[in-house]
Amino acid sequence: MDIVYTLWLRSIKRYVRSKSRILGSLGMPLFLLLALGFGLNSVVQIPGAQGAGYIEFIIPGIIAMSVLFTSVFSGIQIIWDKQFGFLKETLVAPVSRLEIMLGQTFGGATTAVIQGAIILVLSLFIGLQFPGISGFLIAFVFMLLIGICFAALGIAIASKMEDMHGFQLIMNFVIFPIFGLSGALFPIENLPAWVRMVTYLDPLTYGVEGIRYGLLGTAAISPVTCLAVLGGSTAVMIVIGAALFRKASI
């Protein structure tokens, strides 16, 4: 456990120090929130959500998005450690790769939840009603699960990559689809059946709906289902990430 903590601590230190990265990665979610939220608020009617406008609807989606992006990036950071040689220092120590992988995962998840929480707090100023303590807690649990799940995915990807060359490919064919298909920006109830099937295959869908339940009190999927599916996906992702990281060569 102390090894996991050591790696977690390093992630946090690096995160706190990279002020420009923190600000930089807030830019896109805030931009989407303002542009889409205010731009489409009067145009788009969300069926079923009485009174709630489009901006309230996408706030959970945008929070989920910033958690997703930050956690995947932090997992992929391992490639930098590989290139700058620091990974060797960790791998030659008498500690298991599982501990290293878990430390990196939790570190990444923590920074991702902090990013998401910043968006959440800012959202309170642009129309999000305070959902109560329990609502907040529910949202945090789902943010944390998204963070762990996708930090582990980032590590799995990084274990298979030699350098950053494949990064664009990963962004376009893995990360954006995960975001786009998750119902972060549109309600999934009214989709054609086959598209809805695809969204049900995306673990982020359950994260988005879970956060939505916490913050708005309504969701397209029951929160228990969300918790079960996202929790299961997270467990599977950790196993995959750990297995691939164990075999990764330096």
Binding site: I3, S18, L91
Partner: protein, 327 residues
């Protein structure tokens, strides 16, 4: 006591034999050098001993622990300074040390005491709170050595410890390595392709070329083996010199990249005759020098090539390997 016992250690990469069944023993408290050109297989050897690479064949015991049987056992008892940088540049010197101490599960009070002692030893205590990205090459190297010592390893691996450093910093580091070995009794195994470094630092040297050990002994014995003196002649007609120099007082003659190396006894009494001989065959001489054999001469003696030529070959092989489309 034997610190490291290596037997038939071999590493193949897709059919290319990088390390070819090498065997050697290192005694506790020794400074042992692996000397060889780039691409000889030094880093591969060290990586196997440090459990970062799985050997294709052979065995090795580090502090009596099998590198394949008990990896964690080996890892606990060794420290390593890699050839390439391995610090976290976004952390301070102190934080890099602290991270290492935690990874090796050193309790907090011991950890903090050792960090300050070691940072003082490598003269970085006044910069302990600076980010590593602000450090010079020499400072980084010193920090890496301090870090490698933190868990008090019995064996310290130094892979090209002074690569790319200026002469003054190299001298400085040599001094540290010597005193570490003397004061703490740490067994040191270092790799280098600098002759003078191996000569100055090591109790014993294994000269390694193309994955095999071609000679192993103390620097004095290695040089003594050749015996006598060496005359090096640089000339535009170097290729035609060996045919001219057939006198019986010449024990050996080598031709390599525009130079001729002549091994002989009592060079001072023969130099005039030698120059005269070349003059009578109208062979132009750019320079002549007499010196005692160096490790470079030892390498040349055993391989018929200079280290520089070997490196050029290894570099050519690397380019072949990395040609696009091969992957």
């Amino acid at each position: 006591m034997t610190a490291i016992h290596v037997e038939g250690l071999t590493k193949e990469f897709d059919g290319f034999v990088a390390v070819d069944a090498i065997s050697f023993d290192i005694e506790e408290g020794e400074i042992f050098g692996l000397l060889g050109p780039n691409g000889a297989g030094k880093t591969t050897t060290i990586s196997m001993l440090a459990t970062l690479l799985e050997p294709t064949a052979g065995t090795a015991l580090v502090n009596g622990v099998d590198i394949r049987g008990d990896q964690d056992g080996v890892r606990k008892s060794i420290g390593i300074v890699f050839q390439d940088p391995s610090l976290d540049e976004e952390l301070t010197a102190w934080e890099n040390m602290d991270f290492h101490g935690r990874l090796y599960r050193i309790p907090r009070d011991v950890r903090e005491e050792r960090i300050s002692t070691l940072l003082r030893l490598v003269e970085l205590d006044d910069r302990k709170d600076s980010l590593v990205k602000t450090f010079s090459g020499g400072m980084r190297r010193r920090l890496e050595i301090a870090r490698g010592l933190m868990h008090e390893p019995k064996v310290l691996f130094l892979d090209e410890p002074t690569l790319g450093l200026d002469p003054q910093t190299r001298n400085h580091l040599w001094h540290y390595i010597k005193s570490l070995n003397a004061d703490k009794g740490v067994t040191i195994i270092l790799t280098t392709h600098y002759m003078d470094e191996a000569d100055r630092l090591c109790d014993r040297i294994a000269i390694i070329d193309r994955g095999t050990i071609i000679a192993m002994d103390t620097p004095e014995h290695l040089k003594g083996l050749i015996g006598g003196d060496v005359i090096t002649i640089a000339s535009p007609d170097a290729a035609s010199i060996p045919a001219v120099l057939t006198a019986e007082w010449i024990t050996r003659i080598d031709l390599h990249d525009g130079r001729v190396t002549v091994h002989l006894r009592e060079a001072e009494s023969h130099i005039a005759e030698l120059v005269g001989l070349l003059g009578s065959h109208a062979i132009e001489i750019s320079s002549v020098s007499i010196h005692k054999p160096t490790l470079e001469d030892v390498f040349l003696y055993y391989t018929g090539r200079t280290m520089r030529e070997e490196e050029a070959d290894a570099a050519a092989r690397m380019r072949m390997m990395h040609r696009p489309g091969r992957r």
